[in-house]
């Protein structure tokens, strides 16, 4: 019973609110005409210059430019590394492909030339890679050899005149003379 009363009370409050709003509501024609006026201005500069779209495009361009720069820079670095490594290698080990100049190729048509250029570029890259691997292997081999031949600088200090004595042992059946002769360095 009380709930129904409460509901009626809420209904009445909303009705009062609606009446108040109806009194203050703008006229339909005025709002409609304003909407029509806005509609007639179909070309809006805001539409033409969409800020978010421009920002997104600028961001994309920045990303692409930085990617291009980065890839160029990394390629340059790689080339420099190859030059340094191949410069250390012996002249004979540098593969022929690296030295080979493509300028001597016969003249081709535009498309053919492009294809040939890309092929020669790929070849050059492969040769560079091979040269790099070869240089690395040679370096490793040289280092291994150097390590196996290495001698300590203090080895000479450990040498003495009695090294022979230390290297051999007297036999039990040997005579005293033999023993004396054996001890050649002892004062007689």
């Amino acid at each position: 019973m009380e709930l129904v009363g409460e509901q009626k009370r809420i209904q009445a409050l909303f009705s009062e609110l609606r009446l108040a709003d109806e009194q203050t509501a703008p006229r339909f024609t005025a709002v409609w005409n304003h909407a029509q006026t806005r509609s007639s201005r179909t070309w809006r500069p805001a539409r033409a210059f969409n800020f978010s779209f421009v920002a997104a495009t600028a961001l994309l361009i920045c990303a692409l430019v930085s990617l291009a720069l980065w890839s160029k820079y990394s390629q340059q670095n790689a080339r420099q590394a190859i030059v340094v490594v191949t410069g250390n290698a012996t002249p004979g080990t540098v593969p022929v492909e690296v030295v080979k100049d493509t300028a001597g190729d016969p003249p081709l048509s535009e498309r053919g030339r492009d294809r040939a250029a890309s092929r020669s570029r790929a070849k050059r890259l492969a040769a560079q890679r091979r040269a790099l691997m070869l240089a690395i292997n040679l370096k490793a081999a040289r280092e291994a050899k150097a390590i196996s031949n290495w001698q300590s600088p203090t080895t000479a200090l450990l040498k003495s005149q009695n090294d022979e004595l230390l290297k051999s042992l007297p036999q039990l059946s040997e005579s005293a003379n033999d023993l004396k002769s054996f001890l050649t360095n002892t004062p007689k």
Partner: protein, 186 residues
């Protein structure tokens, strides 16, 4: 339905639409009018098209609600710039409240509006659509784009909460208000 017919129907629903726009805009009259204008503009430009799938009133109210939400989001983004734009020009001033409209709101009405503001948006919407717009719960659910069960839940919770709030503020509905408006009636 052609544009002329639609215009007639929209005119019939205009005051109810304005009330709903007011509710969606937190009782801000300027914003409500702006939203309503945008809705009419959408209809004129064909961005909002009534296909007859639902009741015209529920369709229109759903458009108003969506527009109000998007306008609110936009205003949050634009911040101060939008408030500057919304300053009424001399041309627009006639559309806004006339001096006579700034009539004193009764204390009861003010308290009721405050009580409504304390409700969560969904509950306020459900109550408004049912009590103010005389929609059924099914229609309210359509406007709110929720299931009927969900709309019922919002409605019941909103009613309960509103009762509590009104009880706290102790509104003597129909006595103090009417006594003030018409002392002879009480």
């Amino acid at each position: 339905m052609d544009n002329a017919e639609l215009k007639v129907e929209l005119e019939k629903l205009h005051s109810a639409s304005f009330g709903w726009a007011l509710s969606c805009c937190g009782r801000d009259r300027g914003e409500a009018e702006e939203v309503l204008q945008t809705v009419y503009l959408k209809i004129l430009e064909g961005k909002a098209r009534f296909r007859g799938e639902a009741n015209l009133k529920t369709w229109l109210f759903a458009v108003i609600r969506n527009t109000a939400i998007s306008e609110h989001r936009r205003s949050l983004l634009r911040g101060l710039r939008l408030t500057a734009d919304r300053e009424p020009t001399s041309e627009q001033a006639s559309l806004y409240e006339a001096p006579t409209e700034s009539l004193e709101r009764s204390e009861t009405e003010a308290q009721f509006q405050n009580a409504l503001k304390t409700l969560p948006a969904r509950q306020r919407e459900a109550l408004h659509l049912v009590f103010y717009e005389d929609l059924s719960l099914r229609e309210a659910a359509e406007v709110m784009r929720v299931s009927i069960g969900s709309a019922r839940q919002h409605y019941e919770r909103g009613k309960k909460r509103l009762r509590e709030t009104l009880g706290q503020t102790d509104i003597a509905y129909g006595i103090s208000w009417r006594a003030k408006e018409n002392p002879g009636a009480v």
